[in-house]
């Protein structure tokens, strides 16, 4: 049942992404509206899929790659919808929905069976740790999208070629403001995510920190964002530098999330997928 709802969610996201891409080409408001409705409907279905899977599995469904990818996508869309309330930036839609889709399609292909939970994962800390970590990551995903938009827009203004893209993108001021906002929300979330993970590690493995690759890379990611936040507040790293840092930071997140699982081995590798 949850898989069926999940597939329907993917279909809605595909629809939304197509509409959003058409919107960004044709700039017809109606398309953006339809796309937004599809994304919102997709998000609701996605949430339903989670609840269903939770009920079927009996634990928070974030324990294999299919589940984590799907949860990550869910968090990204959720964060976008929350931001949309405040900023109403429609052109962010195509970026976000594409990103969500990039996560959802492998999630759709990967094995979806509910397997018995590894003993180490049977803990209340599992949902807490994962939810904070992923919410933080999702906020940074948004900053990643606006970072890309910033770099494009900045290049156009700087090089004095105000082209078709420039007209479709928000102003540098707004993009930079989102970058900062994302940092102020994302950084505490990421920090709590790491701390709760560390506490859980103490219960599960008897040590707060054991330098396994996932932990190391989380720390690297955290340091990147800490550096950006620090520089931003003291010397005024804003604009292009901040945007580029947001892009690099998110690439580090993606590597921590996927690269470590696929390329390196460690405690965090719980399932083959």
């Amino acid at each position: 049942m949850n898989v069926w709802v999940f597939n329907l969610t993917v279909a809605l996201y595909v629809l939304a992404t197509l509409k959003y891409l058409l919107f960004i080409i044709l700039l017809r408001e109606l398309l953006a509206k339809i796309a937004f409705l599809s994304v919102s409907a997709g998000f609701i279905l996605h949430s339903v899929a989670f609840v269903l899977r939770y009920l079927e599995a009996g634990h928070t469904p974030v324990t294999n790659l299919h589940e984590s990818l799907s949860f990550f996508a869910w968090a990204i869309i959720g964060v976008y919808l929350a931001f949309y309330w405040r900023y109403r930036i429609k052109v962010l839609g195509p970026f976000i929905s594409t990103l969500a889709l990039i996560l959802m399609i492998p999630a759709m292909v990967l094995p979806k069976e509910i397997l018995p939970l590894a003993p180490v994962l049977r803990s209340y800390w599992l949902p807490i740790h994962v939810i904070f970590a992923f919410l933080g990551n999702a906020v940074f995903a948004l900053a990643f999208c606006t970072g890309i938009m910033y770099v494009i827009q900045e290049h156009q203004v700087k090089s004095k070629h105000i082209g078709v893209l420039s007209r479709r993108l928000p102003s540098l001021g707004v993009l930079d403001e989102i970058n900062y906002k994302a940092l102020t929300f994302g950084f505490p979330l990421l920090t709590v995510g790491i701390i709760t993970g560390s506490i859980w590690a103490q219960y599960a493995w008897g040590s707060y920190w054991s330098w396994d690759p996932k932990e190391t890379w989380s720390l690297i990611t955290w340091c990147l964002y800490a550096a950006l936040l620090h520089q931003r507040l003291t010397v005024g790293w804003r604009g292009r530098k901040a945007a580029i840092m947001a892009i690099i930071g998110f690439l580090a997140i993606v590597f921590t999330f996927l690269g470590v699982n696929l390329l390196l081995t460690g405690f965090h590798a719980y399932s083959n997928w």
Binding site: K158, K160, I162, S166, R167, L172, G173, G236, R238
Partner: protein
């Protein structure tokens, strides 16, 4: 009843001539009333702006109408016809409809896509309506024109991008800062274009204005206009830190701002972005400044390039707008045509005949037994009734064809009998430019 437009505009006549033929203020109402007395015209309206003088009228006799309007223009303004006849354009029927739709949509304007003309037409129509000079056809025509203008504005990007240097500067400022609400502007030197740009920036929300000029008094005067503050020219470097937008147009023979100056300022600002607009020739600001992080420098050529791209864009959008106009011209033309007596009489007869047929068939089918003869007499009875009913209205319609008020009758008949051709049908559409 034909629609007729006669007029001159910025493309056909120089400003001296346009001035001579213009109708100003009070005159407008008087001339409308004068035109109403002409037997040639049923309705009229005058549009008089600095770029065009046009008279719209509906007439039964086009040839005489044109002559009457030409003579009216000449006599009213005391100008000989020869003086302006070459500059006059005359549009009839479908071409006239297209003309007003294009004018209202700003496709015929000096700067394509500038929206002022729509307001001017609305005003002209209000005055005409107030003096009872416009009637059913012109009212409908104008409402459609407003509707077309609205469609063009929302469905194309014709008015979206700035086509003057000063607006382009504002557009860029918005691209850099987003909202301009809390932004401060510095004017270095004074010049018409710099003042204009500053004015637009303030309209767009910019808060504080600082003016520096080589002659202090000039700075004071200028600062007064913008409700800003004047500073000594030599001290402007110290004030740079507090401003976001700098408009420079001094007559200095060399650069007054060098990269090292700006670098110091931007650091002190913690890299809060700055936008330099250099409209001086020779330039005031070293182009290298544009290379500094979070600093954007546009000189007059850069701005001109933005304007040129925007103009091209408007022209591309204008082509799409022409398609919308064409579509709407066709719609209006059909409605207008339907106001002719003959097609109305035909469709009225058809409608009644259809009702007769339907009711008769119903009645006949309920009879169990009926002879051919009885059936035929029923046929002729019902036909006769229809004919009798139709006789008077058709006679009145046809005789009204010779009068000025035909279209009132025709329109009434079409509405009362809900005849096809009135698009969408019914009185609801009559009032609105609110669309399909």
């Amino acid at each position: 009843m034909d629609i007729l437009v006669i007029g001159i505009n910025h493309k056909t006549a120089p400003v001296e001539l346009r001035e001579k033929l213009s109708f100003l203020g009070e005159e407008l109402g008087r001339s409308l009333s004068r035109l109403l007395e002409f037997p040639e015209f049923a309705e009229n309206m005058i549009l008089s702006t600095c770029n065009r003088v046009e008279i719209y009228a509906t007439t039964r006799d086009v040839e005489r109408g044109i002559v009457a309007l030409k003579n009216f223009l000449a006599e009213y303004h005391g100008v000989s016809l020869e003086e302006f006849e070459k500059s006059l354009y005359v549009h009839l029927g479908r071409t006239a409809i297209r003309h007003i739709f294009r004018v209202a949509s700003s496709l015929d304007s000096m700067v394509v896509g500038e929206p002022q003309i729509l307001g001017q037409i609305k005003e002209a129509h209000n005055i005409a309506a107030y003096h009872n000079a416009s009637g059913i056809i012109l009212n409908k025509l104008l409402h459609r024109a407003f509707h077309v203008a609205k469609r063009v504005r929302t469905e194309t990007k014709i008015g979206d991008s700035a086509v003057s240097i000063s607006y382009a500067a504002v557009e860029l400022a918005k691209k850099i800062f987003g909202a301009l609400e809390d932004k401060a502007v510095m004017l270095l030197g004074a010049g018409e274009m710099a003042e204009l740009a500053a004015k637009h920036l303030i309209t767009a929300g910019a808060k504080r204005v600082v003016v520096a000029s080589r002659t202090y008094q000039r700075a004071v005067n200028l600062a007064m206009i913008f409700n800003g503050e004047a500073i000594e020219f030599d001290g402007f470097h110290e004030q740079l830190e507090g401003v976001d937008i700098v408009i420079s147009s001094t007559g200095a023979p060399h650069y007054i701002l060098r990269p090292e100056d700006v670098l110091g300022v931007i650091k002190a600002r913690k890299y809060k972005p700055m936008f330099f607009i250099d409209i001086a020739v020779p330039r005031d600001i070293d182009p290298e400044v544009n290379g500094i992080e979070n600093v954007y420098l546009y000189d007059i050529d850069d701005l001109q390039e933005v304007v040129d791209t925007n103009r091209e864009r408007r022209e591309r959008e204008a082509r799409r707008a022409e398609e919308i106009v064409e579509e709407e011209v066709l719609k209006f033309y059909h409605w207008h045509k339907s106001l002719d007596v003959v097609p109305t009489v035909v469709s009225l007869k058809e409608k009644l005949e259809e009702i007769r047929r339907r009711e008769l068939d119903k009645a006949l089918s309920s009879f169990s037994r009926i002879t051919e003869k009885e059936r035929r007499s029923l046929e002729s009875l019902t036909s006769a009734i229809i004919k009798k009913i139709l006789h008077d209205p058709v006679t009145v319609l046809k005789s009204s064809d010779l009068n000025m008020d035909t279209h009132v009758y025709v329109d009434a008949v079409r509405k009362l009998f809900r005849l096809e051709g009135e698009e969408g049908g019914g009185a609801k559409r009559q009032g609105g430019d609110d669309g399909d």
